[in-house]
Symmetry: C2
Subunit: 221 residues, 2 copies
């Protein structure tokens, strides 16, 4: 099960995976270059290699999609990344804005038994510290239906369950405003002037957030 790929190949697979689960499923060379911090020429080289290994479907000038094998490999890396993030926060006491870079390294450790034991040790968590779902050992992802606060109606209630922006500044801001995962909110008022929103947090405190912030907080209704 699961052939070994180089550190670099894994990062490309992961990049393609994240890009293709975003909007469109076909991913372009430039998009990959952007998030892997490389140049388009380097990406083209790697795409040939990954296609050779049957991890992606690649036709010149037409973008790429992951094959089943490629997708499995990518999902496995995502699984490892997210489990390590849970470990770092739950067991070692890191803040949710501090774990991503370390998990970027840990996700490349190759040991099936390690990751499955870690999963059990953590109590088989369903989501990582940012609310992102953790694929189970068979690669299945159980994604809960979430909506952005910016898409909620007046007087609607929900529980903060994820974020769609992972930068440290954003996460620290949410922390400071008490808008962390599990927090109950109610949309109290939609400000017409600039789209900002007034929330009732945990039934009492009220907080005003900008539309930009509201767009990046995901809520379970």
């Amino acid at each position: 099960m699961s052939t070994i790929h180089s550190f670099t190949e894994e990062n490309y697979l992961k990049a393609i995976y994240h890009l293709s689960t975003g909007n469109n499923s076909v991913v372009s060379t430039n998009q990959i270059a952007e998030i892997t911090n490389t140049k388009a020429a380097s990406v083209t080289d790697m795409l040939k290699k990954l296609a050779e290994k049957k991890l992606i479907n690649y036709i010149k000038y037409q973008g790429v999609t992951l094959t089943e094998a490629g997708k499995n490999a990518a999902v496995n890396i995502v699984r490892k990344h997210r489990l390590w993030e849970v470990f770092l926060v739950e067991k070692l006491g890191f803040k949710w804005d501090e774990v991503h870079d370390i998990a970027e390294e840990l996700e490349h450790i190759n040991s099936e038994s390690l990751i499955n034991r870690l999963d059990d040790f953590l109590g088989n968590p369903a989501a990582d510290p940012h609310g992102d779902p953790i694929p189970d050992r068979s690669g299945t992802i159980h994604q809960k239906k979430l909506v952005r606060i910016s898409d909620m109606q007046q007087d609607q209630n929900g529980t903060i369950s994820g974020v769609s922006e992972h930068s440290s500044v954003f996460l620290k801001l949410l922390e400071k405003m008490g808008l962390t995962l599990g927090t109950k909110i109610r949309v109290s008022e939609l400000i017409e002037f600039d789209g900002s929103i007034i929330l009732i947090v945990n039934d009492h405190a009220d907080r005003t957030i900008s539309r930009e912030v509201a767009k990046n907080i995901l809520v379970m209704l």
Copy 2:
């Protein structure tokens, strides 16, 4: 603090460290080639590079020693290796013969805060699952004085506290014979014929071990 070195450089530094703390402090090109599974020519190339970076003292044809900087780097890798081994055994339930290869990968994860938090999480252990001392965060190693069973006198008592052979076959054998770390033993008889030794284990069971096995079990008197 602590510059970043490549994965490969770290493995060479660690190899030199282990070789130089063994017997003689000056390490030869061939010795390094042997334990890094490379050829002498490759080692020479790397030695030039490490010397350039002032991590080793290297004079052509004369072998190498670690500089202070090189030794610090090496000790830090050893610290990480051993702490991860404790984690794998104590928290994830791996056996002591299963953890080395995984730790070989984990030891290259670079994060000072990660390793210090891990250290605290594990309760600042003094030794790894094989009894090897764990350097503290300043790099100091508190090595207990241990003797080989093969060097013990008749009727002498001690507690098994380490091994000088880390192969899986050897560790599994000790496990099967109940000669794991912390076990109390007494040398009951020294067999003249082949040098094998009869032990009293935990005050009752008696076990005969070969001289070869006795040489690789370390005891605190």
